[in-house]
């Protein structure tokens, strides 16, 4: 019994190792990249487009609209980061439909890595939008006394991001595994379907929270 796919190490050489999490991530990266490449290889600019192109356009424009609805006025600047977050997590969670698949998002290392990326990206986008001093000053608002609380808030929400996704995905996998031993036929299937829904919801929650954090960081400049 293991809690994380990190523990399934396939190859190790000192500090470097290849575990199932990394391998699965590579596979997912390949699927996403090759799929995108194959579809965008023959993009049509006319009125008649292929179904796959239409699907990709719907995905991209929907992500853009979601970013815009949260409050970021130029979604194309954030589309790469936030869209990749959503697509990676969503695909990672949806693939749980395959038997024997271990989602990378069920590993705290992966969710922590993604949360660290958000933790770094938020101030970067904030600084790019409003400048370093203006961004740092936002930590002193409404008063300088709030500085430690703001810093704690930054750290805790990053931790929350990582733990929330990990907890949900890991628990989903765990519950499925436990149910398989108790009621092997119908119930795990229902739970698996529910897992697909929660997986998509988690992907949405993770990326929308990242969007909200970035929006808060960039809006601080606009308000000041």
């Amino acid at each position: 019994m293991y809690l994380s796919s990190d523990e399934l190490v396939l190859w190790q050489h000192g500090f470097f190792k290849l575990n199932v999490t990394i391998l699965t991530t590579w596979v997912l990266m390949l699927v996403l990249s090759i799929g995108a490449k194959l579809i965008t290889r023959k993009l049509a600019e006319g009125m008649h487009i292929s179904r796959w192109q239409s699907l990709l356009e719907i995905i991209v424009t929907t992500i853009g609209k979601q970013i815009e609805e949260v409050g970021l006025s130029h979604p194309e600047k954030y589309l790469g980061f936030l869209g990749t977050l959503f697509l990676f997590i969503a695909l990672s969670n949806l693939c749980t439909i395959f038997p024997g698949y271990e989602p990378p998002t069920g590993s705290l290392s992966t969710t922590a890595a993604l949360a660290i990326c958000v933790f770094v990206a938020v101030p970067l986008f904030g600084i790019a939008q409003s400048g370093l001093s203006a961004y740092l000053q936002s930590y002193l608002k409404p008063t300088a006394m709030m500085l430690p609380f703001n810093i704690i808030s930054e750290l805790s929400r990053t931790l929350a991001l990582a733990i929330r996704l990990f907890g949900n995905m890991m628990s989903g996998t765990m519950i499925l595994g436990i149910l398989l031993t108790i009621t092997p036929f119908i119930f795990p299937m229902i739970m698996s379907m529910l897992g697909l829904l929660t997986g998509l919801v988690q992907a949405y929650i993770f990326s929308i929270l990242a969007t909200v954090f970035i929006a808060a960081a960039t809006r601080a400049r606009e308000e000041s």
Partner: protein
Amino acid sequence: MLIDWFTVIAQIVNFLILLWLLKRFLYSPILNAIDAREKRIAGELADADAKKAEAQKEREDFKFKNDTFDDLQAGLLKKAMDEVTTERARLIEAARNEADSLRIKQQEQLRVEYENLSVEIARRTRAEAFAIARKALTDLAGMSLEARMVEVFVQRLLALDGLDKQRLGALSPSAPVLVRSAFDLSEELRFMIENAIVESMASSVRFETVPELISGIELIMQGQKVAWSIADYLASIEKSAGAVVQSGISSGKS
């Protein structure tokens, strides 16, 4: 330990690579395609708007031209109708005039024909009557027609009553008497006439031959005339023949 830091670092790197790959193969091409399509649609819409405006303008132009053409056509049609009406009236008037003139000409021609026919009938009738009379007189009396004619003329002179003789004599007893005949009178016949005249009115006699009298003889004295001619007999025949021709013309007209 739930967190493996090598995996964390590796996943960060993986995420950054995936970010770069998707930007390169997904977002940029898709956004570019969408932008290009939007530009193309905007261009087509602008083009369609321009064409619509142009079509509207051409439609208005066409409508204006059509209206102008209709007005012109109506004007021309009215003018043509007026001209046709005028021309029709003129042609009818001309035809009527021509018909009138033709009718008048026809009537004139008929009248001329009638007169010619009348003259011809009179001439033939006279000639026939003269020939019949001549033959009859010759057959019956054995004397020439002229002699019988003079005889009748002399009898008529002698048969004048007193009132007629006074009227002739009162004019001028010494005035010459002109005796006109259609034929040359023989000495014997002249003598017979002179005797009768001298006996009646005692005047000098002068003879003259006038072929137009057609088998007749007449005495003229200062506007007074005593005559015998076949023409007198022919007058009634001529009148009845004229009535026949006139009725023929009337039936031809109707």
